[in-house]
Symmetry: D2
Subunit: 250 residues, 4 copies
């Protein structure tokens, strides 16, 4: 089995962290596919690892509660597929997903060592499409027409963020290296400040790609922080803003 | 220094490879930022490693010549920045790139161990914006208003691909884990068949992210092939199509 | 009161009509804001004229029934606004709509001679957001996150059309000169064949702008047809296609 | 010949005009297809009326000079088509434009009473693609990859506007009822304040559609102003802003 040495960029990442200011008034948390189709082993059609599911739900709940208490809006983005007559899931027009089903058995698909199916994943009305109950509170926003890997594609996410005055997009969810990473790229391209919560993401594709996703964000386009780092940044934003303003005035 | 074990998905990847058919009439090669700003060490402001530059240029030339000879269109997408009065490079509105310049010295930026600067990168009219001469031939298409990491964002790439009748997008260029990966995501989201040429990509961010970028494509959204695999697929497409049609008829 | 002479382009329009082929297998009907907020005088917050509402509902019902019977998919696109704490309707970030409320009384707004309000229009959960019951049948598709004038903006309409294999987009709904016209423009830009059903559109802004909308489509970007012309084109598509193929073979 | 009565909305339009504040620091002028392909009768392939061309060029020059003197950026957006081997102009994939060429003679196309051709319009390198020299000054921005009717589609216009801090988009150019109107719609959808300069627009499709295009903007989505109204608004913005702020403080 081959392995990869992770390049040590702790100096870079430390320097960037010092520059990070997260004013709660300009921040939103976007949860990505925090639904039963990934996280509830009883119904999941593309399951994360059970221990990851447990960790992510518990940490996400803490982060969301902390954020809501400071007025930070929470937006849940969820993939849901229509079943089309004669076609099946509307997701099955994807040439890659078609090849996945044509060439592989149920045990050798996207999730190494676990069964999974795109074809039956998160069909409209199925239990997989439900947001994990611990993570939803009244007043949260829901966008439930995600169709591919990018939360911005085919949805009104950008419009909602801009209406709310958001500059800082804090991401959590499943999977670190696909939907979270793709959404990070797009948020970067749209000039948002991108923050990924390392305690609240996981990958059904393998731990190596989970690490890739985080390294890729932290070294190329945004910030990867723990829950406690997020809490510190949100609570110190007032003094950070004052310090930044004072620095500019010199 | 930490290391990551690469999960062995050779069975999955082998099965997907057997499903891949690349009809030259429905295929285009998109080169990503194959310009002197990454690849010519004399002028590069965000340089790849010199040995990577050499390898990528040489392999890309072979792949492009092979493709052109079979009528496969070649589209070069290049990042170019205007210099705005009072602002400098238009790229510097990005909060992440601003933080990179605010918090880091020239020797501790995006390119580990080499100097780099977003602020002076590929300004309109500068030599960095020129496509590497060996890679350009009359009849190729050029899109030179890429502004962020995604070749589709703010450009007419999708329109050009659809006008040309393209279903299969073959990607090469710099960097494996950012512009190539981001463009792979978007091409996947738009339901193209995504192929990345492993011989013709590299990353200025580190070899770990290069490897993981390729793993991410191959296991989650598309195909990663060598030059010789590409050549085989392009030349056998006729019989592949016949075989697929025969299979359907059974 | 000033008036405008309509330029006579009947020769142009006649010639274009002869070129129009509508294969039911490549056609979808998109209904635009066929909801109670425009069409049910009891609850409408931006009402069409009552006689227009009656005409449009009756004709739309006939067109939809005809289309469904031939397997043409029906997609209903509806504007729905969230109410945001401290902001009110999320639509009220629009500078034009803000100016409309700041500078005008309820009787001098978008709908000449009738009261209207953007601020209370089609708030999530309100009766205005309901599709007119006569126009909905099980098996129809619904996209209920339209936020501005363009049915494609912030929605998955394009993805759904392409998944269904649609090339011809037949539009009906409210208002001829805004949402129908804006959606016609975008469908044209995306290289769909655009057809607007004159019997099934109306404008709350005035009959002059209704005429504009239709003239603009018919002379610049698409086809405007009556219900009976639509029915004829859908039923003759087989022979039209044969004729076109024969012509090509000459 | 039929005529249309224009609904009198002078009260509405007057009220909206009073609400309009145009801070030069948040304003840009976008010129739309101010090229020789529409405006220079010697080379135009889709000509405006000669008297319109003269009026528009002269008024546009005055408006642009006034704006530049106040630091308002000028962005020229121009349609340019590649010629593709075997296809001709890349614009000819449009089903409507194909039907226009299939069904109509050169004298009965988009421009009533004048010859026109989409097929040869603004091919890369042809004189038609040149911006009218009187309207271009060093320091202006150019976006020359417009491909359809909307200046935002397939271009980096939105990114450039946002980088420049623009909130108010002032439009001029050809044609009032297609590219200007389509761009107005999209600018409205993106929550810019939309202003169309009536002295600096015209339509090759007929005066009726010019008039109705302006009515459509003024009554549904933005502001239509003369050159002198623009100048007044730009020069009074300081006091307007103070007045608005004072009003808020009450």
């Amino acid at each position: 089995m081959s392995s990869v040495e992770i390049v040590d960029r702790s100096s870079l990442i430390g320097g960037l962290y010092r520059e990070l200011v997260l004013d709660p008034k300009q921040t939103a948390i976007v949860t990505i596919d925090m639904h039963r189709g990934h996280l509830d082993m009883d119904v999941a059609t593309m399951p994360a690892k059970p221990e990851d599911a447990k960790r992510v739900i518990s940490n996400a709940r803490a982060a969301l509660d902390f954020a809501r208490a400071r007025g930070v809006p929470v937006i849940h983005v969820v993939l849901v597929y229509r079943r089309l007559p004669g076609l099946g899931s509307e997701g099955m027009v994807s040439p890659f997903w078609k090849a996945m089903h044509a060439g592989q058995t149920e045990n050798d698909r996207l999730t190494p060592g676990r069964k999974s199916t795109v074809r039956e994943h998160n069909i409209e009305g199925s239990p997989g499409t439900e947001i994990i109950p611990e993570l939803y509170k009244t007043g949260d926003y829901v966008i439930d027409n995600k169709k591919r890997l990018d939360c911005f594609y085919g949805t009104d996410l950008r419009l909602l963020l801009d209406t709310l005055g958001v500059k800082n997009v804090v991401l959590m969810g499943i999977n670190t290296n696909t939907c979270v990473l793709n959404t990070s790229f797009t948020a970067f391209n749209f000039d948002y400040r991108v923050v990924v919560l390392s305690d609240c993401v996981a990958s059904m594709y393998g731990d190596d790609l989970h690490v890739l996703g985080l390294q890729n964000v932290a070294r190329c386009l945004g910030w990867v922080v723990t829950n406690s780092q997020l809490f510190e940044k949100l609570d110190s934003a007032g003094s950070d803003v004052r310090r930044a303003t004072a620095a500019l005035a010199k």
